[in-house]
Protein backbone atom coordinates (compact mmCIF):
# COMPACT_ATOMS: atom_id res chain seq x y z
CA UNK A 1 0.00 0.00 0.00
CA UNK A 2 1.38 3.40 -1.05
CA UNK A 3 1.61 6.64 0.87
CA UNK A 4 -1.79 8.26 1.27
CA UNK A 5 -2.09 11.66 -0.40
CA UNK A 6 -5.81 12.36 -0.49
CA UNK A 7 -8.22 11.20 2.13
CA UNK A 8 -11.99 11.65 2.21
CA UNK A 9 -13.57 10.97 5.57
CA UNK A 10 -17.35 10.61 5.92
CA UNK A 11 -17.72 13.09 3.10
CA UNK A 12 -21.21 14.25 2.24
CA UNK A 13 -22.75 17.02 0.16
CA UNK A 14 -26.29 18.28 0.09
CA UNK A 15 -27.82 21.03 -2.02
CA UNK A 16 -30.97 22.90 -1.21
CA UNK A 17 -32.97 24.08 -4.17
CA UNK A 18 -36.47 25.53 -3.89
CA UNK A 19 -36.74 24.32 -0.28
CA UNK A 20 -35.84 20.80 -1.41
CA UNK A 21 -32.73 19.10 -0.11
CA UNK A 22 -30.85 16.92 -2.53
CA UNK A 23 -28.29 14.45 -1.23
CA UNK A 24 -25.57 14.40 -3.85
CA UNK A 25 -22.95 12.50 -1.88
CA UNK A 26 -23.31 10.35 1.23
CA UNK A 27 -20.66 9.15 3.63
CA UNK A 28 -17.75 8.87 1.20
CA UNK A 29 -14.65 7.32 2.74
CA UNK A 30 -11.78 7.14 0.34
CA UNK A 31 -8.00 7.17 0.26
CA UNK A 32 -5.93 7.95 -2.82
CA UNK A 33 -2.23 7.21 -2.68
CA UNK A 34 0.72 9.16 -3.93
CA UNK A 35 1.50 8.63 -7.63
CA UNK A 36 -1.72 6.72 -8.17
CA UNK A 37 -4.14 7.09 -11.06
CA UNK A 38 -7.70 6.65 -9.83
CA UNK A 39 -10.76 6.65 -12.00
CA UNK A 40 -14.06 7.62 -10.38
CA UNK A 41 -16.68 6.08 -12.53
CA UNK A 42 -20.42 6.38 -12.54
CA UNK A 43 -23.44 7.41 -14.53
CA UNK A 44 -24.36 11.03 -15.10
CA UNK A 45 -25.61 12.59 -11.87
CA UNK A 46 -23.97 9.93 -9.71
CA UNK A 47 -21.93 12.58 -7.90
CA UNK A 48 -18.53 12.18 -9.59
CA UNK A 49 -18.00 15.86 -10.39
CA UNK A 50 -19.20 16.91 -6.94
CA UNK A 51 -16.74 14.51 -5.34
CA UNK A 52 -13.96 15.90 -7.51
CA UNK A 53 -14.89 19.48 -6.61
CA UNK A 54 -14.97 18.56 -2.92
CA UNK A 55 -11.58 16.87 -3.13
CA UNK A 56 -9.92 19.92 -4.68
CA UNK A 57 -11.60 22.36 -2.31
CA UNK A 58 -13.73 24.18 -4.85
CA UNK A 59 -16.86 23.57 -2.81
CA UNK A 60 -17.42 22.97 0.89
CA UNK A 61 -18.69 19.61 2.11
CA UNK A 62 -21.89 19.47 4.12
CA UNK A 63 -20.42 16.73 6.28
CA UNK A 64 -17.02 15.11 6.66
CA UNK A 65 -13.68 16.35 5.44
CA UNK A 66 -11.02 16.06 2.76
CA UNK A 67 -7.39 15.78 3.77
CA UNK A 68 -4.66 16.52 1.24
CA UNK A 69 -1.04 16.34 2.31
CA UNK A 70 -2.16 16.26 5.95
CA UNK A 71 -4.25 19.41 5.58
CA UNK A 72 -8.01 19.45 5.93
CA UNK A 73 -8.75 21.55 2.87
CA UNK A 74 -12.36 22.24 3.76
CA UNK A 75 -11.11 24.07 6.83
CA UNK A 76 -8.19 25.85 5.19
CA UNK A 77 -8.23 29.62 5.14
CA UNK A 78 -8.77 31.05 1.66
CA UNK A 79 -5.16 32.14 1.18
CA UNK A 80 -3.77 28.70 2.09
CA UNK A 81 -6.25 27.00 -0.19
CA UNK A 82 -5.18 29.34 -3.01
CA UNK A 83 -1.56 28.42 -2.32
CA UNK A 84 -2.40 24.72 -2.39
CA UNK A 85 -4.34 25.13 -5.63
CA UNK A 86 -1.58 27.18 -7.12
CA UNK A 87 1.35 24.99 -6.12
CA UNK A 88 0.05 21.42 -5.90
CA UNK A 89 -3.33 20.97 -7.53
CA UNK A 90 -4.34 21.10 -11.16
CA UNK A 91 -7.98 20.90 -12.25
CA UNK A 92 -9.20 19.92 -15.69
CA UNK A 93 -12.84 20.88 -15.98
CA UNK A 94 -15.44 18.99 -17.92
CA UNK A 95 -16.56 22.21 -19.57
CA UNK A 96 -12.93 23.38 -20.06
CA UNK A 97 -13.64 26.69 -18.34
CA UNK A 98 -11.58 28.74 -20.76
CA UNK A 99 -12.06 32.47 -20.60
CA UNK A 100 -13.82 33.32 -23.86
CA UNK A 101 -12.31 36.77 -24.40
CA UNK A 102 -8.74 35.80 -23.60
CA UNK A 103 -6.45 34.38 -26.24
CA UNK A 104 -5.24 30.80 -26.03
CA UNK A 105 -1.88 32.03 -24.81
CA UNK A 106 -3.49 34.23 -22.15
CA UNK A 107 -5.78 31.41 -21.05
CA UNK A 108 -2.71 29.32 -20.28
CA UNK A 109 -0.76 32.22 -18.89
CA UNK A 110 -3.38 33.03 -16.22
CA UNK A 111 -2.55 29.71 -14.60
CA UNK A 112 1.00 30.97 -14.05
CA UNK A 113 0.09 34.36 -12.61
CA UNK A 114 -0.16 33.13 -9.00
CA UNK A 115 3.43 31.80 -9.23
CA UNK A 116 4.76 35.25 -10.00
CA UNK A 117 7.27 33.64 -12.38
CA UNK A 118 8.96 35.73 -15.03
CA UNK A 119 6.90 36.39 -18.20
CA UNK A 120 9.80 35.37 -20.46
CA UNK A 121 10.10 32.01 -18.73
CA UNK A 122 6.33 31.57 -18.87
CA UNK A 123 6.33 32.21 -22.59
CA UNK A 124 8.94 29.54 -23.26
CA UNK A 125 7.07 26.94 -21.20
CA UNK A 126 3.69 27.78 -22.73
CA UNK A 127 4.96 27.76 -26.32
CA UNK A 128 6.76 24.48 -25.75
CA UNK A 129 3.58 22.83 -24.45
CA UNK A 130 1.51 24.28 -27.29
CA UNK A 131 4.03 22.81 -29.70
CA UNK A 132 3.77 19.40 -28.06
CA UNK A 133 0.00 19.48 -28.60
CA UNK A 134 0.39 20.89 -32.12
CA UNK A 135 -1.37 24.13 -31.16
CA UNK A 136 1.50 26.57 -31.39
CA UNK A 137 -0.01 28.50 -34.26
CA UNK A 138 -3.28 28.88 -32.34
CA UNK A 139 -1.70 30.87 -29.51
CA UNK A 140 -3.21 34.18 -30.55
CA UNK A 141 -6.69 32.86 -31.30
CA UNK A 142 -9.70 32.97 -29.03
CA UNK A 143 -11.15 29.71 -27.60
CA UNK A 144 -14.24 29.99 -29.78
CA UNK A 145 -12.01 29.80 -32.86
CA UNK A 146 -10.79 26.34 -31.84
CA UNK A 147 -12.52 22.98 -32.12
CA UNK A 148 -13.95 21.35 -28.99
CA UNK A 149 -11.04 18.89 -28.96
CA UNK A 150 -8.51 21.70 -29.24
CA UNK A 151 -10.24 23.58 -26.42
CA UNK A 152 -10.02 20.47 -24.26
CA UNK A 153 -6.31 20.28 -25.04
CA UNK A 154 -5.87 23.91 -24.01
CA UNK A 155 -7.64 23.21 -20.71
CA UNK A 156 -5.21 20.34 -20.16
CA UNK A 157 -2.18 22.43 -21.13
CA UNK A 158 -3.35 25.06 -18.65
CA UNK A 159 -3.21 22.39 -15.95
CA UNK A 160 0.03 20.80 -17.09
CA UNK A 161 1.87 24.10 -17.36
CA UNK A 162 2.29 24.30 -13.60
CA UNK A 163 3.22 20.62 -13.23
CA UNK A 164 0.97 20.02 -10.24
CA UNK A 165 1.52 17.03 -7.95
CA UNK A 166 -2.22 16.24 -7.93
CA UNK A 167 -4.46 16.46 -10.97
CA UNK A 168 -8.21 16.29 -10.82
CA UNK A 169 -9.69 15.73 -14.25
CA UNK A 170 -13.41 15.77 -14.94
CA UNK A 171 -14.14 13.87 -18.15
CA UNK A 172 -10.83 14.88 -19.75
CA UNK A 173 -11.57 12.93 -22.90
CA UNK A 174 -15.31 13.37 -22.93
CA UNK A 175 -15.48 15.76 -25.86
CA UNK A 176 -12.63 14.57 -28.07
CA UNK A 177 -12.00 11.98 -30.72
CA UNK A 178 -10.13 8.77 -29.96
CA UNK A 179 -6.84 10.07 -31.30
CA UNK A 180 -6.96 13.22 -29.18
CA UNK A 181 -8.13 11.19 -26.20
CA UNK A 182 -5.10 9.00 -26.64
CA UNK A 183 -2.83 12.05 -26.71
CA UNK A 184 -4.40 13.45 -23.56
CA UNK A 185 -4.12 10.20 -21.67
CA UNK A 186 -0.56 9.84 -22.85
CA UNK A 187 0.29 13.21 -21.33
CA UNK A 188 -1.44 12.35 -18.07
CA UNK A 189 0.45 9.07 -17.91
CA UNK A 190 3.67 10.95 -18.59
CA UNK A 191 2.94 13.25 -15.62
CA UNK A 192 2.40 10.27 -13.34
CA UNK A 193 5.46 8.39 -14.49
CA UNK A 194 7.93 11.21 -15.03
CA UNK A 195 6.72 13.82 -12.55
CA UNK A 196 5.23 11.54 -9.89
CA UNK A 197 1.79 13.12 -10.10
CA UNK A 198 -1.33 11.67 -8.51
CA UNK A 199 -4.26 11.74 -10.91
CA UNK A 200 -7.95 11.49 -10.12
CA UNK A 201 -10.25 11.20 -13.14
CA UNK A 202 -14.01 11.38 -13.07
CA UNK A 203 -15.59 9.72 -16.09
CA UNK A 204 -18.72 7.92 -17.14
CA UNK A 205 -16.71 5.59 -19.29
CA UNK A 206 -14.68 7.44 -21.87
CA UNK A 207 -11.42 6.68 -20.09
CA UNK A 208 -10.51 2.99 -20.19
CA UNK A 209 -10.31 1.31 -16.80
CA UNK A 210 -6.94 -0.15 -17.81
CA UNK A 211 -5.50 3.36 -17.70
CA UNK A 212 -6.00 3.55 -13.94
CA UNK A 213 -4.37 1.88 -10.97
CA UNK A 214 -7.76 1.80 -9.30
CA UNK A 215 -11.37 2.29 -10.28
CA UNK A 216 -13.98 3.56 -7.85
CA UNK A 217 -17.57 3.14 -8.88
CA UNK A 218 -20.12 5.63 -7.59
CA UNK A 219 -23.86 5.26 -7.67
CA UNK A 220 -26.44 7.58 -6.11
CA UNK A 221 -23.75 9.46 -4.22
CA UNK A 222 -22.24 6.40 -2.60
CA UNK A 223 -19.21 4.26 -3.38
CA UNK A 224 -20.37 0.93 -4.74
CA UNK A 225 -16.98 -0.58 -5.49
CA UNK A 226 -13.33 0.30 -5.07
CA UNK A 227 -11.12 -2.09 -6.98
CA UNK A 228 -7.57 -2.27 -8.31
Amino acid sequence: MGESQIECIALGKQYTRNKQTINVLNDINLTINLNEIVIIKGRSGAGKSTLLNLMCGLIKPTTGKVIIENKCISELPNNELSRLLSNHIGIIFQSFNLLPTYTIYENIEIAMVPDGSKPRLNKDVIMSLLEQFNLKEKATLLPAELSIGQQQKIAIIRTLVRQPSIIFADEPTGSVDDETAGEILHHLKYLKEQKGATIVIATHGTVPESFADRVIFIENGQIKSNKK
Binding site: N53, C56, G57, L58, I59, K60, N78, N79, S82, R83, L84, L85, S86, N87, I89, I91, F93, N97, L99, T101, Y102, E106, E109, I110, A111, V113, P114, P119, R158, R162
Partner: protein, 404 residues
Protein backbone atom coordinates in the same frame (compact mmCIF):
# COMPACT_ATOMS: atom_id res chain seq x y z
CA UNK B 1 0.95 39.05 -17.44
CA UNK B 2 0.62 41.51 -14.63
CA UNK B 3 -2.50 42.21 -12.59
CA UNK B 4 -2.73 45.71 -14.09
CA UNK B 5 -2.75 44.22 -17.59
CA UNK B 6 -5.67 42.00 -16.60
CA UNK B 7 -7.46 44.98 -15.09
CA UNK B 8 -7.07 47.03 -18.26
CA UNK B 9 -8.10 44.03 -20.34
CA UNK B 10 -11.16 43.57 -18.14
CA UNK B 11 -12.07 47.25 -18.48
CA UNK B 12 -11.72 47.09 -22.25
CA UNK B 13 -13.47 43.73 -22.51
CA UNK B 14 -16.71 45.07 -21.04
CA UNK B 15 -16.45 48.48 -22.59
CA UNK B 16 -20.06 49.56 -22.06
CA UNK B 17 -20.05 48.43 -18.45
CA UNK B 18 -16.82 50.36 -17.96
CA UNK B 19 -18.35 53.38 -19.66
CA UNK B 20 -21.40 53.09 -17.38
CA UNK B 21 -19.15 52.83 -14.33
CA UNK B 22 -17.08 55.82 -15.41
CA UNK B 23 -20.14 57.85 -16.38
CA UNK B 24 -21.49 57.49 -12.85
CA UNK B 25 -18.39 59.22 -11.54
CA UNK B 26 -18.50 61.78 -14.36
CA UNK B 27 -22.10 62.73 -13.58
CA UNK B 28 -21.42 62.84 -9.85
CA UNK B 29 -18.26 64.91 -10.32
CA UNK B 30 -19.96 67.39 -12.65
CA UNK B 31 -22.94 67.68 -10.31
CA UNK B 32 -20.84 68.13 -7.17
CA UNK B 33 -18.65 70.63 -9.02
CA UNK B 34 -21.66 72.66 -10.15
CA UNK B 35 -23.24 72.50 -6.70
CA UNK B 36 -19.98 73.58 -5.10
CA UNK B 37 -19.35 76.30 -7.65
CA UNK B 38 -22.82 77.75 -7.08
CA UNK B 39 -22.92 77.35 -3.34
CA UNK B 40 -19.37 78.49 -2.77
CA UNK B 41 -19.60 81.55 -4.99
CA UNK B 42 -23.01 82.48 -3.63
CA UNK B 43 -21.80 81.62 -0.18
CA UNK B 44 -18.93 84.02 -0.80
CA UNK B 45 -21.34 86.77 -1.87
CA UNK B 46 -23.90 86.16 0.84
CA UNK B 47 -21.21 85.64 3.46
CA UNK B 48 -19.72 88.95 2.39
CA UNK B 49 -23.01 90.51 3.40
CA UNK B 50 -23.81 88.28 6.33
CA UNK B 51 -20.33 88.31 7.78
CA UNK B 52 -20.58 92.05 8.10
CA UNK B 53 -24.03 91.94 9.62
CA UNK B 54 -23.84 92.88 13.24
CA UNK B 55 -20.15 92.19 13.51
CA UNK B 56 -19.60 95.22 15.68
CA UNK B 57 -20.07 96.36 19.24
CA UNK B 58 -18.89 99.03 21.62
CA UNK B 59 -17.18 98.77 24.98
CA UNK B 60 -16.95 101.38 27.72
CA UNK B 61 -16.81 101.73 31.49
CA UNK B 62 -20.04 103.08 32.95
CA UNK B 63 -19.84 105.51 35.83
CA UNK B 64 -22.18 107.42 38.15
CA UNK B 65 -20.13 110.61 38.05
CA UNK B 66 -18.75 112.55 35.15
CA UNK B 67 -14.99 112.37 35.07
CA UNK B 68 -14.78 115.24 32.64
CA UNK B 69 -16.58 118.32 33.84
CA UNK B 70 -16.66 121.29 31.58
CA UNK B 71 -15.36 124.32 33.43
CA UNK B 72 -15.34 127.13 30.93
CA UNK B 73 -17.97 129.79 31.01
CA UNK B 74 -20.22 128.33 28.38
CA UNK B 75 -20.16 124.85 29.65
CA UNK B 76 -19.90 125.42 33.35
CA UNK B 77 -22.84 124.14 35.21
CA UNK B 78 -24.59 122.96 32.08
CA UNK B 79 -23.87 119.29 32.60
CA UNK B 80 -21.37 118.51 29.84
CA UNK B 81 -20.26 114.95 30.19
CA UNK B 82 -18.81 111.88 28.49
CA UNK B 83 -21.43 109.22 27.92
CA UNK B 84 -22.34 106.08 26.10
CA UNK B 85 -25.82 104.72 25.60
CA UNK B 86 -27.30 107.27 27.98
CA UNK B 87 -24.96 106.62 30.92
CA UNK B 88 -21.91 108.46 32.12
CA UNK B 89 -18.58 106.95 31.32
CA UNK B 90 -15.00 107.36 32.35
CA UNK B 91 -12.01 107.95 30.10
CA UNK B 92 -10.11 105.04 28.60
CA UNK B 93 -6.55 104.97 27.38
CA UNK B 94 -4.98 103.58 24.22
CA UNK B 95 -3.63 100.47 25.95
CA UNK B 96 -7.17 99.12 26.08
CA UNK B 97 -7.40 99.23 22.28
CA UNK B 98 -4.13 97.35 22.04
CA UNK B 99 -5.44 94.66 24.42
CA UNK B 100 -8.73 94.33 22.56
CA UNK B 101 -7.01 94.09 19.17
CA UNK B 102 -4.99 91.14 20.48
CA UNK B 103 -8.12 89.07 21.08
CA UNK B 104 -8.56 86.39 18.44
CA UNK B 105 -11.36 87.29 16.03
CA UNK B 106 -11.12 91.06 16.48
CA UNK B 107 -10.71 92.63 13.06
CA UNK B 108 -10.11 96.16 14.28
CA UNK B 109 -10.79 98.50 17.17
CA UNK B 110 -11.15 102.29 17.10
CA UNK B 111 -11.21 105.03 19.73
CA UNK B 112 -14.36 107.07 20.11
CA UNK B 113 -14.91 110.19 22.14
CA UNK B 114 -18.58 110.94 22.80
CA UNK B 115 -19.44 114.06 24.67
CA UNK B 116 -22.72 115.79 25.39
CA UNK B 117 -23.16 119.45 26.22
CA UNK B 118 -26.12 121.75 26.72
CA UNK B 119 -26.17 124.51 24.10
CA UNK B 120 -27.98 127.66 25.04
CA UNK B 121 -28.54 128.87 21.47
CA UNK B 122 -30.02 125.66 20.27
CA UNK B 123 -31.68 125.16 23.62
CA UNK B 124 -30.87 121.50 23.70
CA UNK B 125 -28.17 119.05 24.57
CA UNK B 126 -25.90 118.37 21.60
CA UNK B 127 -23.80 115.26 21.45
CA UNK B 128 -20.44 115.44 19.68
CA UNK B 129 -18.70 112.29 18.50
CA UNK B 130 -14.98 112.27 17.87
CA UNK B 131 -14.20 109.56 15.36
CA UNK B 132 -11.28 107.88 13.63
CA UNK B 133 -12.77 108.41 10.16
CA UNK B 134 -10.85 105.67 8.36
CA UNK B 135 -11.28 102.84 10.82
CA UNK B 136 -13.67 100.04 9.85
CA UNK B 137 -14.95 99.77 13.42
CA UNK B 138 -16.02 103.42 13.20
CA UNK B 139 -17.81 102.79 9.93
CA UNK B 140 -19.89 99.96 11.39
CA UNK B 141 -20.48 101.43 14.88
CA UNK B 142 -20.88 105.16 14.21
CA UNK B 143 -20.92 106.46 10.64
CA UNK B 144 -19.13 106.21 7.33
CA UNK B 145 -18.51 108.40 4.30
CA UNK B 146 -21.06 106.31 2.43
CA UNK B 147 -23.76 107.59 4.81
CA UNK B 148 -23.42 111.15 3.51
CA UNK B 149 -26.69 112.42 2.03
CA UNK B 150 -25.67 116.04 1.50
CA UNK B 151 -22.38 117.91 1.34
CA UNK B 152 -19.18 116.04 2.00
CA UNK B 153 -17.60 113.88 4.63
CA UNK B 154 -15.07 115.02 7.21
CA UNK B 155 -11.73 116.32 5.98
CA UNK B 156 -8.60 117.46 7.76
CA UNK B 157 -10.05 120.89 8.45
CA UNK B 158 -10.28 121.47 12.17
CA UNK B 159 -13.53 123.45 12.09
CA UNK B 160 -15.53 120.96 10.02
CA UNK B 161 -18.29 118.76 11.30
CA UNK B 162 -20.99 116.54 9.84
CA UNK B 163 -24.43 116.36 11.40
CA UNK B 164 -27.01 113.61 11.57
CA UNK B 165 -29.95 114.26 9.27
CA UNK B 166 -32.46 114.28 12.14
CA UNK B 167 -30.40 116.86 14.06
CA UNK B 168 -29.97 119.02 10.96
CA UNK B 169 -33.70 118.89 10.22
CA UNK B 170 -34.67 119.71 13.80
CA UNK B 171 -32.49 122.79 13.81
CA UNK B 172 -32.97 123.70 10.14
CA UNK B 173 -29.33 123.34 9.31
CA UNK B 174 -27.93 123.21 5.82
CA UNK B 175 -24.56 122.31 4.41
CA UNK B 176 -22.19 125.26 4.81
CA UNK B 177 -23.92 126.67 7.89
CA UNK B 178 -21.71 127.78 10.72
CA UNK B 179 -22.59 126.72 14.24
CA UNK B 180 -21.45 128.58 17.30
CA UNK B 181 -21.15 125.55 19.44
CA UNK B 182 -18.65 123.80 21.71
CA UNK B 183 -16.73 126.98 22.35
CA UNK B 184 -16.07 127.86 18.73
CA UNK B 185 -17.34 128.15 15.18
CA UNK B 186 -17.89 124.85 13.42
CA UNK B 187 -18.80 124.57 9.75
CA UNK B 188 -21.33 121.98 8.67
CA UNK B 189 -19.52 120.15 5.86
CA UNK B 190 -22.14 117.47 5.33
CA UNK B 191 -25.32 115.83 6.48
CA UNK B 192 -25.29 112.18 7.25
CA UNK B 193 -27.81 109.45 7.85
CA UNK B 194 -26.00 106.68 9.64
CA UNK B 195 -29.10 104.69 10.59
CA UNK B 196 -29.26 102.80 13.83
CA UNK B 197 -25.77 102.65 15.30
CA UNK B 198 -24.64 102.05 18.86
CA UNK B 199 -22.34 105.08 18.84
CA UNK B 200 -24.71 107.55 17.26
CA UNK B 201 -24.23 111.30 18.04
CA UNK B 202 -25.76 114.58 16.78
CA UNK B 203 -22.61 115.85 15.17
CA UNK B 204 -19.27 114.27 14.33
CA UNK B 205 -15.75 115.51 13.96
CA UNK B 206 -12.34 113.81 13.71
CA UNK B 207 -11.31 112.55 17.14
CA UNK B 208 -8.21 114.72 17.29
CA UNK B 209 -10.35 117.83 16.77
CA UNK B 210 -12.79 116.75 19.46
CA UNK B 211 -9.91 116.16 21.87
CA UNK B 212 -8.71 119.67 21.16
CA UNK B 213 -12.20 121.12 21.64
CA UNK B 214 -12.63 119.35 24.96
CA UNK B 215 -9.18 120.17 26.28
CA UNK B 216 -8.57 123.66 24.93
CA UNK B 217 -11.96 125.23 24.38
CA UNK B 218 -14.08 123.62 27.08
CA UNK B 219 -11.12 123.26 29.44
CA UNK B 220 -12.32 119.88 30.50
CA UNK B 221 -10.09 118.34 33.07
CA UNK B 222 -9.56 114.66 32.85
CA UNK B 223 -6.46 112.52 32.55
CA UNK B 224 -5.87 111.04 29.15
CA UNK B 225 -8.62 112.24 26.84
CA UNK B 226 -7.84 109.38 24.54
CA UNK B 227 -11.42 108.12 24.33
CA UNK B 228 -14.36 107.03 26.42
CA UNK B 229 -15.60 104.27 24.08
CA UNK B 230 -13.82 101.61 22.11
CA UNK B 231 -15.51 100.61 18.87
CA UNK B 232 -14.87 96.97 17.91
CA UNK B 233 -15.27 95.11 14.62
CA UNK B 234 -15.00 91.30 14.51
CA UNK B 235 -14.06 89.19 11.52
CA UNK B 236 -17.18 87.06 11.31
CA UNK B 237 -20.70 87.20 12.72
CA UNK B 238 -20.39 83.57 13.79
CA UNK B 239 -17.58 84.31 16.24
CA UNK B 240 -18.94 87.54 17.64
CA UNK B 241 -20.38 85.92 20.76
CA UNK B 242 -17.07 84.22 21.49
CA UNK B 243 -15.18 87.52 21.10
CA UNK B 244 -17.62 89.35 23.39
CA UNK B 245 -17.35 86.57 25.97
CA UNK B 246 -13.57 86.70 25.75
CA UNK B 247 -13.52 90.48 26.30
CA UNK B 248 -15.88 90.15 29.26
CA UNK B 249 -13.70 87.41 30.66
CA UNK B 250 -10.41 89.25 30.28
CA UNK B 251 -11.71 92.76 31.07
CA UNK B 252 -14.69 92.27 33.31
CA UNK B 253 -14.81 95.97 34.23
CA UNK B 254 -15.98 96.80 30.70
CA UNK B 255 -19.55 97.08 29.57
CA UNK B 256 -20.08 95.52 26.15
CA UNK B 257 -23.01 96.59 24.04
CA UNK B 258 -24.11 94.94 20.83
CA UNK B 259 -27.31 95.01 18.78
CA UNK B 260 -27.12 91.20 18.47
CA UNK B 261 -27.75 91.40 14.71
CA UNK B 262 -24.95 88.90 14.38
CA UNK B 263 -27.13 86.09 15.75
CA UNK B 264 -29.53 85.71 12.78
CA UNK B 265 -26.67 86.35 10.36
CA UNK B 266 -24.63 83.66 12.03
CA UNK B 267 -27.56 81.25 11.84
CA UNK B 268 -28.14 81.96 8.13
CA UNK B 269 -24.45 81.42 7.38
CA UNK B 270 -24.47 78.11 9.23
CA UNK B 271 -27.58 77.02 7.29
CA UNK B 272 -25.95 77.96 3.94
CA UNK B 273 -22.79 76.06 4.86
CA UNK B 274 -24.68 73.00 6.04
CA UNK B 275 -26.89 72.95 2.95
CA UNK B 276 -23.96 72.85 0.54
CA UNK B 277 -22.25 70.28 2.73
CA UNK B 278 -25.39 68.15 2.85
CA UNK B 279 -25.83 68.34 -0.93
CA UNK B 280 -22.25 67.18 -1.42
CA UNK B 281 -22.73 64.30 1.04
CA UNK B 282 -25.98 63.26 -0.68
CA UNK B 283 -24.39 63.24 -4.13
CA UNK B 284 -21.43 61.33 -2.71
CA UNK B 285 -23.80 58.73 -1.20
CA UNK B 286 -25.61 58.28 -4.52
CA UNK B 287 -22.24 57.99 -6.24
CA UNK B 288 -21.20 55.21 -3.87
CA UNK B 289 -24.49 53.36 -4.22
CA UNK B 290 -24.32 53.60 -8.01
CA UNK B 291 -20.70 52.50 -8.28
CA UNK B 292 -21.17 49.70 -5.72
CA UNK B 293 -24.06 48.44 -7.81
CA UNK B 294 -21.86 48.59 -10.94
CA UNK B 295 -19.05 46.72 -9.23
CA UNK B 296 -21.41 44.11 -7.79
CA UNK B 297 -23.03 43.59 -11.18
CA UNK B 298 -19.57 43.22 -12.63
CA UNK B 299 -18.69 40.64 -10.00
CA UNK B 300 -21.87 38.67 -10.64
CA UNK B 301 -21.26 38.79 -14.39
CA UNK B 302 -17.67 37.76 -13.89
CA UNK B 303 -18.36 35.24 -11.15
CA UNK B 304 -17.70 32.23 -13.36
CA UNK B 305 -14.47 33.74 -14.62
CA UNK B 306 -13.35 34.70 -11.13
CA UNK B 307 -14.25 31.21 -9.95
CA UNK B 308 -11.98 29.80 -12.67
CA UNK B 309 -9.16 32.10 -11.61
CA UNK B 310 -9.68 31.05 -7.99
CA UNK B 311 -9.55 27.40 -9.01
CA UNK B 312 -6.26 28.11 -10.77
CA UNK B 313 -4.84 29.36 -7.49
CA UNK B 314 -5.46 33.09 -7.76
CA UNK B 315 -5.75 34.26 -4.20
CA UNK B 316 -8.67 36.29 -2.93
CA UNK B 317 -6.16 39.05 -2.21
CA UNK B 318 -4.97 39.14 -5.83
CA UNK B 319 -8.53 39.13 -7.13
CA UNK B 320 -9.53 41.78 -4.59
CA UNK B 321 -6.70 43.96 -5.82
CA UNK B 322 -8.01 43.47 -9.33
CA UNK B 323 -11.55 44.48 -8.32
CA UNK B 324 -10.29 47.43 -6.30
CA UNK B 325 -7.98 48.58 -9.08
CA UNK B 326 -10.81 48.29 -11.62
CA UNK B 327 -13.02 50.38 -9.38
CA UNK B 328 -10.29 52.93 -8.67
CA UNK B 329 -9.34 53.33 -12.34
CA UNK B 330 -12.99 53.93 -13.22
CA UNK B 331 -13.41 56.45 -10.43
CA UNK B 332 -10.18 58.26 -11.34
CA UNK B 333 -10.99 58.47 -15.04
CA UNK B 334 -14.55 59.49 -14.13
CA UNK B 335 -13.53 62.29 -11.82
CA UNK B 336 -10.95 63.67 -14.25
CA UNK B 337 -13.48 63.71 -17.09
CA UNK B 338 -16.11 65.07 -14.68
CA UNK B 339 -13.88 67.92 -13.53
CA UNK B 340 -12.96 68.82 -17.11
CA UNK B 341 -16.59 68.67 -18.19
CA UNK B 342 -17.67 70.70 -15.17
CA UNK B 343 -15.06 73.32 -15.95
CA UNK B 344 -16.25 73.45 -19.55
CA UNK B 345 -19.90 73.80 -18.51
CA UNK B 346 -19.09 76.58 -16.05
CA UNK B 347 -16.99 78.33 -18.68
CA UNK B 348 -19.79 78.07 -21.24
CA UNK B 349 -22.35 79.33 -18.75
CA UNK B 350 -20.17 82.29 -17.83
CA UNK B 351 -19.10 83.10 -21.40
CA UNK B 352 -22.62 82.94 -22.80
CA UNK B 353 -24.14 84.51 -19.70
CA UNK B 354 -27.17 82.23 -19.81
CA UNK B 355 -30.29 84.14 -18.79
CA UNK B 356 -31.64 81.25 -16.80
CA UNK B 357 -28.76 81.61 -14.46
CA UNK B 358 -28.80 85.37 -14.11
CA UNK B 359 -29.36 85.12 -10.41
CA UNK B 360 -27.06 82.18 -9.87
CA UNK B 361 -23.36 82.78 -10.13
CA UNK B 362 -21.15 79.87 -11.22
CA UNK B 363 -17.57 80.24 -10.18
CA UNK B 364 -15.16 77.38 -10.76
CA UNK B 365 -13.73 76.20 -7.46
CA UNK B 366 -10.23 74.92 -8.18
CA UNK B 367 -9.82 74.19 -4.50
CA UNK B 368 -12.64 71.65 -4.75
CA UNK B 369 -10.78 69.46 -7.28
CA UNK B 370 -8.60 67.67 -4.70
CA UNK B 371 -11.74 67.15 -2.61
CA UNK B 372 -13.59 65.72 -5.61
CA UNK B 373 -10.71 63.41 -6.54
CA UNK B 374 -10.48 62.22 -2.94
CA UNK B 375 -14.25 61.70 -2.78
CA UNK B 376 -14.30 59.75 -6.05
CA UNK B 377 -11.35 57.59 -5.08
CA UNK B 378 -12.97 56.96 -1.70
CA UNK B 379 -16.14 56.10 -3.60
CA UNK B 380 -14.11 53.72 -5.76
CA UNK B 381 -12.70 52.00 -2.69
CA UNK B 382 -16.07 51.76 -0.95
CA UNK B 383 -17.69 50.49 -4.16
CA UNK B 384 -15.06 47.76 -4.31
CA UNK B 385 -15.53 46.65 -0.70
CA UNK B 386 -18.87 44.83 -1.08
CA UNK B 387 -17.79 42.79 -4.12
CA UNK B 388 -14.59 41.92 -2.26
CA UNK B 389 -16.54 40.71 0.78
CA UNK B 390 -18.67 38.63 -1.57
CA UNK B 391 -15.55 37.30 -3.24
CA UNK B 392 -14.00 36.22 0.07
CA UNK B 393 -17.20 34.53 1.19
CA UNK B 394 -17.85 32.51 -1.95
CA UNK B 395 -16.09 29.30 -2.88
CA UNK B 396 -14.57 28.95 -6.34
CA UNK B 397 -16.87 26.08 -7.26
CA UNK B 398 -19.96 28.09 -6.33
CA UNK B 399 -18.69 31.01 -8.38
CA UNK B 400 -18.08 28.80 -11.40
CA UNK B 401 -21.60 27.46 -11.04
CA UNK B 402 -22.87 31.02 -10.45
CA UNK B 403 -24.28 30.23 -7.01
CA UNK B 404 -23.65 33.75 -5.74
Amino acid sequence: MSIIKYVIKELRRHLWRTVAGISGYVIAAVFILLVLSVTKSNEKDSFGILKGTGTHFIVYIPSNISCCVSCNNEGAGTGGYLFAEGVLTIMLDNDLITSIKKIDGVKDAAPYLLYKLYDKKLNTEVSLGGIDTLNIATKSNVCAATNIIAGKYLSDRQDEIVAEESFAMAHRLSVGDTLNIYGGKLVLAGIINSGIRPGKADIYAPIENVRTILKEKLKCMSPGFDMNIVLVEVTDARIQKRVIDQIKKEMNYLSVSSYNCYEPASKVMTIVEKTSGLLTVLVFCFLIIFSTKTQLTSLIERSREIGILKSLGWSDFTLSRQILLTSLIQSFIGVIIGCSLGLLIILLININNFRLFDLVKFQFQFSSIPLLISLSLAGGVIAGIFPIIKLYRTKAGDMINNYL
